[in-house]
């Protein structure tokens, strides 16, 4: 092997190797992306996932495929997503349930909400409303009073 050519060929191969990972990232996505939805089809969050998924697919040029994996208070689907290869081809439709309730309601949810995930985006919120029978008089304070008076006392 000629000494003069050896370093050059080494340099060439090094340049090729370091270019490869960057190319793989800038060309993402090259295939469909699955969006894990830990709710059954047809529910509120499933509908929202499909709305966002369709638009996202249009702008990324690859289909977003919704994959429903419901059960155990969203932990089954969330645990599944936590174990997926972190290559950008698996995402999770997360929520207050997956990341704030279930981690504390289940001794073994199957994932660590804070460690196993990278936050991407807070898409939206659905405000809760309290309601009561329409014939009842008064507003919120009266509603609470009624509840206090009429609710059965625990034994």
């Amino acid at each position: 092997m000629k000494l003069s050519t050896f370093p050059l060929s080494m340099l060439a191969s090094l340049v090729v190797l370091s270019a490869a990972p960057a190319l793989a990232q800038t060309s993402w996505p090259v295939k469909p992306i699955r969006l894990i939805v830990p709710y059954p089809p047809g529910g509120g969050n499933d509908t929202l996932a499909r709305i966002f998924g369709q638009k996202l697919g249009e702008s990324l040029g690859q289909q977003i495929i919704v994959e429903n994996r419901a059960g155990a208070g969203t932990t089954i689907g969330t645990a599944f997503a936590s174990r997926a290869t972190p290559d950008g081809y698996t995402l999770l439709l997360s929520s207050i349930a997956t990341h704030a309730f279930s981690p504390h309601l289940y001794a073994k949810p199957g994932y660590d909400a804070l460690r196993d995930f990278s936050p991407v985006n807070l898409a939206g919120g659905r405000a809760y409303a309290a309601g009561s029978q329409s014939g009842a008089a008064g507003g919120f304070a009266q509603g609470i009073d009624r509840a206090r008076q009429t609710a059965p006392r625990p034994a």
Binding site: W28, L48, S59, L60, L91, I96, A97, P103, L114, R126
Partner: protein
């Protein structure tokens, strides 16, 4: 779960009637079987508009345009109850930052599209859209907040 939070903050011993979902709960409240219910605003909106259900308060910073007469929980005297059933996108940890950044940019753009705003409104949702770091901080806060609340309510993990 948000019903439990409400119960805890209002400091009343409501026996939570375990209806299987929002629709039976609405029916139960209209019939008087249950005195009060809490559910995503979109589910109760048609019943409030028809007059069968009376909306008492809404967990939102400002009043819902569709229900201008319904006070927020803060206005009604319970400012701590700001619960909203937020939904979001996460990726597995170690997903490359460039991909997360691109997804975030696209999702924020989508949330602000007029047609999406309309569709979200129909579903009773507000669009938010923030940066991954802002969202990450929000998740940590919510995770800690409900951890404390669930423990304070004496709910043991199953």
């Amino acid at each position: 779960m948000l019903g439990e939070t409400f119960k805890s903050l209002a400091k009343i011993d409501i026996i939570q009637v375990p209806y299987k979902g929002g629709a039976p709960a609405v029916v139960g409240t209209i019939s008087g079987e249950a005195q009060m219910m809490a559910d995503p605003a979109a589910s109760v909106l048609p019943h409030v508009k028809s007059g069968r259900l009376r909306a008492l308060a809404i967990a939102r910073a400002t009043r819902l345009p569709e229900l201008p007469q319904v006070p927020t929980f803060a206005e009604a005297g319970m400012p701590e109850y700001t619960a909203s059933a937020w939904y979001s996108v996460h990726a597995p940890a170690k997903t490359p930052n460039e991909i997360v950044a691109r997804l975030n940019k696209e999702l924020v753009r989508i949330v602000n599209l007029p047609e999406i705003r309309e569709r979200l409104k129909d579903l009773g949702s507000d669009g938010v859209g923030n940066t991954p770091d802002e969202f990450g901080r929000f998740v940590s806060e919510e995770h800690a907040k409900y951890g404390r609340l669930i423990k304070a309510m004496g709910i043991k993990p199953e």
